[in-house]
Amino acid sequence: MDQLLEILSKPDNIPIILLLVSVVFYSQLAWSKARKNDNQGVPDEAKQDDKVQVWPYLVRVEFLATILIMAVLVIWSIALDAPLEEPANRALTPNPSKAPWYFLGLQEMLVYFDPWIAGVVLPTLIIVGLMAIPYIDINEKGNGYYTFKERKFAVLTYVFGFHVLWVLLIVIGTLFRGPGWNFFWPWETWDPHFVGVLTNVDLSEYFGIPTRNPDNTLNPAAMIFGAVCVGALYTPVGLVWIQRQNSDLFKKLGFIRYSVVAFLLLSMVGLVIKILLRLGPPVFGLNPVKYVLVTPWFNI
């Protein structure tokens, strides 16, 4: 427990606490507003559509908010000093070495994926995926007011991505990852000499197909097996399209929009599957899965 308090009281981790508190607070606020709007049919915002003058009604809100934020920031800055550690020294690597807090979700991904996915492909997909949202969400309802009932799929997907895959992984990366990026519960003390005994296996080896031949060359059968597994994740895209292309929703979506939605969604599902393949087996005393697909050029 001391360990947890020590991490939490580090000045640089205050944003994590603010993140947790504000995400919980605002989620609850939005949820109560959405539920109220959904129950009464007409959103509150529609009842407040009469015009008011910006001076004074909006400017005064901005003015008060400015004073409040400045007061908080000044008090925060007087109370807590920004960290300044020993001079930079390339010969002395701290353990654990952590990126700034907002990148710790991505650093946590390094446990489950090789750096080219965790550090390059995933961030790119997140950015491109976010930018695509307005163009792939063709639901006309829920524009300009809080609602859940009218856009359940969109809200749930976003909340899963934001709350679970972004915020929760940042919290895990900050609070629960100690030396060697090993997992430590809050009541455990970080032990720099702890060596987790992990015998990683590849998914194909669970099915009796070794990744490498005795002479250490790659086994083509394992490669084909891996490719089939990765392919199987994305095949439903085509099958569902063939089956349902004439339904109203799919006609309205169109093939390109549908493919982008399906690809992004299945990539997110794939990410979760890979995390479970890594974390799940040790619970049952089995070896965690390292790779699904091993090729001479890259591994997934």
Partner: protein
């Protein structure tokens, strides 16, 4: 005496209208002010409701202004070379009057800004405010989110202490695994990428985080990224107005 002042040419050239509380003066207060005319004269009532807007976009902009001002002050005391950077930080924290306050405000303001950008995005998503006609402004907003993260990350290196150099080492090590462009990334080696010519080398100005990296990140942090962010912010705010002001339910009434 004040009345006499109000009749002078100098006063009238600065203040164009009287302060009597009339509809007309309330409108002029907005349109005759270069800073306030970002706003429309009138807005729907729900736009002034902080429960609807959360005020996160505005707070983000406020923090950007605070960071610009404190950042300029910090630049007076800081030299971006490996030889001096850390010493300048020590000097700033121990000997410069109000040095720690300015630096702390810059540091905590930056953390807070990352947070408020995320919350602003969350609110805009939940109210469906990216839907037509505001699709493109959401894209600009995503770019601003990326720029905010880059600004924060590039600033992280500048204290040139252990925390800075290793956090940035961890972050930029990812670049060597970039597909095609990194020497450890898929097909990188096949395309002739080496540690001394790949994308990470370009980013760092070397094969590891060193003095050239400090200068690169400094210039990026203080000049390049703020300028780019300012341009996108201008587009972002302008588009808010052009796309019909703050989002709200379609009640059949015209926005303006």
């Amino acid at each position: 005496m004040f009345d006499a002042l109000k009749k002078t040419e100098v006063y009238k050239s600065i203040f164009r209208h009287s302060y009597q509380d009339t509809q007309r003066n309330r409108a002029l207060q907005i349109v005759d002010n270069v800073f306030l005319h970002l706003h429309p004269v009138r807005v729907p009532r729900h736009a002034t409701n902080i429960g609807y807007t959360w005020g996160m976009g505005g707070i983000t902009f406020l923090l950007f202004l605070v960071l610009t001002i404190t950042g300029i002050i910090l630049m007076f005391y800081y030299r971006p070379t490996a030889q001096y950077a850390y010493e300048d930080m020590k000097y700033l924290m121990n000997d410069v009057p109000f040095g720690p306050l300015i630096r702390n405000m810059h540091r905590w303001g930056a953390h807070a800004m990352v947070l408020t950008v995320m919350l602003h995005m969350f609110r805009v998503f939940l109210t469906g405010s990216y839907k037509p006609p505001r699709q493109f402004n959401w894209v600009v907003g995503v770019l601003l989110l990326v720029l905010t993260l880059l600004l924060s990350f590039s600033g992280y290196l500048l204290p040139w202490d252990q925390l800075a150099i290793w956090a940035v080492t961890v972050g930029t090590n990812m670049a060597r695994a970039t597909p095609l462009l990194g020497h450890e990334g898929p097909f990188g080696a096949e395309l002739g990428m080496r540690p001394d010519n790949d994308v990470r080398f370009v980013l760092l100005g070397g094969t590891e985080v060193g003095p050239p990296t400090l200068l690169r990140f400094y210039v990026g942090h203080c000049i390049f990224l703020p300028i780019v962010a300012s341009i996108f912010m201008a587009v972002h705010f302008w588009r808010v107005r052009k796309d019909g002001g703050i989002s709200g339910p379609d009640t059949g009434k015209k926005q303006f």
